[in-house]
Subunit: 335 residues, 2 copies
């Protein structure tokens, strides 16, 4: 399998990106095409096995407006990676660059799967018990229509079922309460659409359900989803900093921490985004993993392995299939 990696995207590019990619290619887990400024990437390449480079000096800034990138940076490392995917030279793209621009180029260059109006970023969240919860859209489309949410529900369901192997995934709309009387204008209309989709739909779910294992797929617009994501980070950060501070100020607490060290490490492994690697962009005609801007070597390695798994499990094909069924259903209704 061949995977293109945007060598210039991310706060720690190109060093951490190249190292992460190389850790995969060296072990022969995938063939990597590193796209970017060859002169800047080269110093970090120590092993050329299963690794090639495609040179382009242009790169997208982390804070650049996606519309600007789309207009002026078609030659960027990011877009060249998508072009390699489009032409079939690679089976997936991984980028830790500007996520808005990555989404824009993915749509522009790869195109959308028929029936998908808006692709969605699906983030994976640790939770009580086994497995992960999937949140989508985590920030792709800020102002959504009810049909977009219905499509997110279908894509999330296909991803959870076919790719992650969850049997009959439990799908819910993120809302301010479980009762049907809750929700806002958007969720109320989306609720009536999703009810008809023939998936294991729970109705409205709450923020707590994302972490207690009640729901597998949590659907929201990209504005709410992104806030949910960052609130989660904020709370976890606050809790760990609180304990860190306390441990610094007390010998007794420090000893306690040492004894609890295994548990702290296990939690960190569960919660750390560098363990997950990245989030798939569902609904584009390909496999695209969007990584955290702060991705290090480990995060990149895991993101590339995630891309490999998603290609093997037929992510694109399963979304394609579910959207074909959806379109047929829509046509039947229109008659």
């Amino acid at each position: 399998m061949r995977i293109a990696v945007d060598g210039m995207g991310g706060d720690f590019a190109p060093q951490e990106i190249v190292r992460g990619a190389q850790s995969v290619s060296r072990e022969g887990l995938a063939s990597i095409v590193l796209v970017g400024d060859e002169e800047k990437m080269k110093p970090f390449v120590t092993d050329h096995a299963n690794l090639t480079m495609v040179h382009t000096p242009v790169c997208v800034g982390m804070n650049e407006a996606p519309s600007n990138a789309l207009r002026k940076k078609k030659d960027s490392s990011m877009n060249r990676a998508f072009e390699l995917h489009k032409s079939g030279e690679v089976q997936a793209v991984v980028s830790a660059g500007n996520s808005g621009a990555a989404m824009a180029f993915a749509i522009f260059t790869l195109g959308r799967i028929p029936g998908v109006d808006r692709p969605a970023i699906a983030t994976l969240h640790p939770r009580m018990g086994e497995g992960v919860s999937i949140l989508l859209d985590a920030g792709g489309t800020v102002d959504c229509k009810p049909t977009h949410l219905a499509q997110f529900a279908l894509m999330g369901n296909a991803f959870a079922g076919s790719v992650l192997g969850i049997d009959s995934p439990k799908v819910g709309i993120l809302s301010n309460g479980e009762e049907e009387t809750k929700g806002n204008e958007l969720t109320r209309e989306a609720h009536s659409l999703i009810k008809e989709l023939g998936i294991n739909y729970l109705g409205y779910v709450e923020g707590t359900d994302m972490y207690n294992g009640r729901t597998d797929v949590v659907v929201s617009d990209g504005f709410v989803g992104n806030i949910a994501l960052k609130i989660s980070e904020g709370v976890a950060d606050f809790i760990f900093k609180f304990f860190k501070e306390g441990i610094r100020n007390s010998l007794k607490a420090r000893m306690g921490y040492l004894l609890l060290n295994d548990l702290f490490k296990e939690f960190q492994r569960k919660a750390d985004y560098s363990e997950t690697g990245g989030a798939p962009l569902l609904g584009v005609d390909g496999v695209c993993i969007i990584c955290h801007g702060k991705s290090n070597e480990k995060a990149m390695r895991n993101a590339i392995l995630l891309a490999r798994k998603f290609v093997e499990k037929g992510l694109k094909e399963s979304i394609n299939e579910t959207m074909q069924d959806y379109q047929s259903l829509q046509k039947v209704k229109e008659r």
Copy 2:
């Protein structure tokens, strides 16, 4: 000072409600008027000092539609408490009952402060360092207009400044990123309104800012605010259950936990809603504290003491003043 308490509201009513109220009246911290079914409340009253009862057998169900309660339950313990406030017999109302109904009755019976279109529930959140962050609206109004968010910003600013004593509170709109290009339709319009209000406005803030101390007042519509609130609960719950489980399964970890016990307890005190007591409903013509449905004796006691503090600090008056200034400003603009 006299405070009316809805004796029948909450999952643990009347027992925990009566006990919490009595713990305040017994110490002479406030005179309590317990409103509810006298026969049901009486068994828990052991000390009548500074405590009177107003009998009504009607109570609002925890899951009853607020519109239904408003139509059919004007004689409920909840609304009778607001009527006592309206007629000046008490200076505040505290209820752990159905929060939607409490908001509806507060608006119906007390009325809104002139210039306020939608009252907002303001929740207090622990954070790194000193003080608390204020989130509003945490669930009062689900579908908001930009002017509602602007009013929330003003009310939150007045509450943080005059009541909580924060000097020049830092106010932000909860969004999916800090840049002006972020946000959704609602926040973009609200942003341009709030910029003109002459408060210490930071622009967009992220979920992490609610917990790192960067912002004092976080403004959102009630749908997003409620999700933020429950995601926070979900993450904290997940983390503590994870450690609980781990401690159960390992002797070493259990010993560590014992050494860290002070820290765990301190955190619980910081994060426990029963320590805060409840959330003020800002914008109604009075002082109204809405409590968690699961409020116990301690939560009720703290909520009543919060109400007392807010009356003493002139909550109603400071919101009134800020809204008068706002209305004058609006009139100047219209000319």
